[in-house]
Amino acid sequence: MILRLVERAAVLVISLAVASVLVFGFMAVLPGDPARVALGVNASDEAVAALRQQFGLDRPLTTQYFDWLGGLLHGDFGTSYVSKVAIGPQVADRFQVTLWLVVVGMVVALVLAAPAGTVMAARHRRLSGLALSALSQLGVAIPAFLAGILLIMVFAVKLGWLPANGWTPPASDPGMFLKQLILPALSLGLVQGAVLTRYVRSAVLDVLREDYLRTARAKGLRPFPALWRHGLRNAAVPVVTVLGLQLATLLIGAVVVERVFVIPGLGSLLLDGVSNRDLLLVQDVVMVLVVAVLVVNFLVDLLYVALDPRLRVAR
């Protein structure tokens, strides 16, 4: 168990290191230097040279890399080449906003998928199961931003129940915060829920065929109680993996959904960075997203072991 933990942690650290090299390297090999890109093509050579010196872009790449990495480890994300503002506080602010979307979206997905997938599996030869299956196929085909637009059309335009866009911090007006959170979180959650439903279904179907479940039924337990007491924990293991992968999808989905609902999250920051040619900002935000994905995968790995004691002795 401890060996596995150490091994996983080592893999995480190595992955993070390689990812940082990839992100830094990718941004460093661009055809043109960040200072020139930030100032635009008409900038004088002196201005570019001054900016390069100001931000240390004239130093060797390895020095720049370790400086950047060291800064990240201390929570210092550097200063934007374009706006000359510290990037760290912006990233922290925006990350909170995105986190709200992702977490509430995930909750919506789970609340939807766990019962729907179980019913689909338990009734997979009946009409109700098939109907739910078809519905989930459709859900999988709709991207989150499209779901967002459709939800706006129904709940904001037609019914006028909820605001079409905007963002209010929870501290300043909790009521408005909730109202504005519902549609974006639903657009992320409904779509992920549809995907997740299919995994829950196939996991539960696998469990339904197991001997221990037949034994439970033979003892006289009715189908749903048998599944509840003996099946769902086993079915949870594969579902948790998918959940981890989906968190990554949700984070990226949030980038687009933030655009639809005009929400000042990490995605908007990233896209603004790209359109302002603010390369350090882009580099930082991409790194934050990649770190988030890798850390989530690591946690999922640990959760596995907690859920399935058999994996503890496997190594």
């Binding site: 999988v140 637009i149 196939s202």
Partner: protein, 272 residues
């Protein structure tokens, strides 16, 4: 083996329809898809314009038809890139000694932390947004899933007796990979290609929606959606048509993938 299953039939029908529409758009569309006609801007659907017109008076149906070309083109190239890199990597990993395989697959997993959209936005930031950067970025992001699926398929083939026999007869790994392993994972490649196509269609739509995909004036479903956003109150149909097109295309490729999987591996049929 059941040759036809509902997923396969519906999937093939949808994908076939999109291909036919895309081909048809080369020779005929109701109007020039990029023709700006201020006289009929934001016209409702009518006999003259079946799906109405957008804010520039461009015919929505013609734009949708030409947009299907963009979708298919981006999907084809992206899946091509993913397969050309992912299949050899998967086969190589399966045939290598354990530690090499482990290193390759760890690297592969790392790439999974860069989803298609993020990679494409990075590519866009560095090289400028274009159809080409979108296709390559989506393709590279789809490599890991290809490599993973092909590796596990190839590992199974490696354990079969004919491969063992070929190796025992002294054949070198490369010819074995080419003559025995590759032909036996083609069904996996086909299924994965179809599933990846759906992912590519989604990613292209999202990228164009964000303004990092196909640049105007070339019609693209994602950008049609983005342009429709300012008219959600006055002309919601402008969002509905490209939205339905995207959803139907993704549905088609997903169903095709499911159907092919069931057809190649009937044991799994019950599970879907």
């Amino acid at each position: 083996m059941r040759r036809w299953n509902p997923s396969l039939v519906v999937g093939l029908a949808i994908v076939g329809l999109i291909v036919v529409v895309a081909l048809l758009s080369f020779v005929w569309t109701p109007y020039d898809a990029t023709l700006v006609d201020p006289a009929v801007r934001l016209a409702s659907p009518s006999w003259a314009h079946w799906f109405g017109t957008d804010k520039f008076g461009r015919d929505v149906l013609s734009q949708l038809m030409v947009g299907s070309r963009t979708t298919l083109f981006v999907g084809l190239v992206a899946v091509g890139v993913a397969a050309v890199i992912g299949v050899p990597v998967g086969v190589f990993a399966a045939m290598s000694p354990r530690w090499v395989s482990e290193v390759v697959m760890r690297g592969n997993d790392l790439l999974l932390a860069f989803p298609a959209l993020l990679l494409a936005i990075m590519f866009g930031a560095v090289f400028g947004a274009s159809t080409l950067t979108a296709m390559v970025a989506i393709g590279i992001a789809t490599v890991p899933s290809f490599a993973r699926v092909i590796r596990s398929g190839a590992l199974q083939v490696m354990r079969t007796e004919y491969v063992l026999a070929a190796r025992a007869a002294g054949r070198r790994p490369f010819p074995v990979a080419l003559r025995h392993v590759l032909p036996n994972v083609t069904s996996l490649i086909t299924v994965q290609a179809s599933v990846s196509f759906a992912i590519a269609v989604l990613a292209e739509a999202a990228l164009s929606f964000l303004g990092y995909g196909t640049p105007p004036p070339t019609p693209s479903w994602g950008r049609m959606l983005q342009e429709s956003q300012e008219f959600l109150f006055s002309a919601p149909r402008l969002a509905v048509f490209p939205g339905v097109a995207i959803a139907v295309a993704v549905l088609g490729f997903n169903l095709l993938g499911d159907g092919l999987r069931d057809r190649f591996d009937p044991k799994l049929e019950d599970r879907r």
